[in-house]
Amino acid sequence: MEYRDLYDENKIELADTLTSTEFLEVIESVGFKTYSEEQVNKALKNTMYMVKAKVDGKLAGIGRVVGDYSIVCCLSDICVKPEFQGRGIGLRIVKYLKNKIEENVKLGEKMQIELTPTAGNEDFYKKAGFKYNPDVITGMYLWIKSDQE
């Protein structure tokens, strides 16, 4: 991915609603396998947290978290349209979802977030605080604990 000038923070609008049409628009723009609207509706209904990012009113990216609401969850479909890539939107999406999870972890509890980065994007997730340690687990992970930073 080519890194361009980052957008000004205020230019990226984030919202916690996501329709199946928006989901498919972004997923298809990066060439991921596509699904039917019906399948996406079911998937979104069973999603813990979701987010969409807009720039100048235009849909630029999406992301979501699926999991068991208590012990473990996975980032999924973190996706930015090609024309908006390399400008800090993906990182804002990941940080937004990470914050959502943190807000909902109660004192003394901890939750594991896992993700499967596409090839070459490990460093991107490291910037968001994720660790990669194949001696422990094959994916990338992050423990959110409410009793520490």
Binding site: Q39, V66, D68, V72, C74, E122, V136, T138, G139
Partner: protein, 139 residues
Amino acid sequence: MISIKENINKVEEYNYLFDQVGWGCYENKISQKALDNTIYSVSVYDDDKIIGYGRLIGDSICFLYIHDVMVLPEYQHKKIGTKVMNKLLEKINRIKLENPYVRVYLGASKGKDDFYRKFGFITRKEANLGSGMILKNTD
């Protein structure tokens, strides 16, 4: 007598196995919430003693995650884990009928890659993806 049951999700049994395989322990209410939000699970018993478990979480249609495949240490290497995985894969295959492109992920513990390979999993690296393992599409 070994038996397999679906969607039992008894918190005491889950916590017992979790502790016995050396993963630590969760408070009952934390495990309970996790089990309540589990799509599908398999419990294996020797008579009425819990000896194995595995569960599926995810959005139930596009993304599935195999988690907490556990076998009591004294019952390991007796194909109990294989029974758990086969039963989970039966469920996954039913979901596949609804969505052939469902993504199935698991985070294998160190040294367990070859166990999961037997069921068709390959590492994401082998699939030219980033880290992690996915279920290899057979079609």
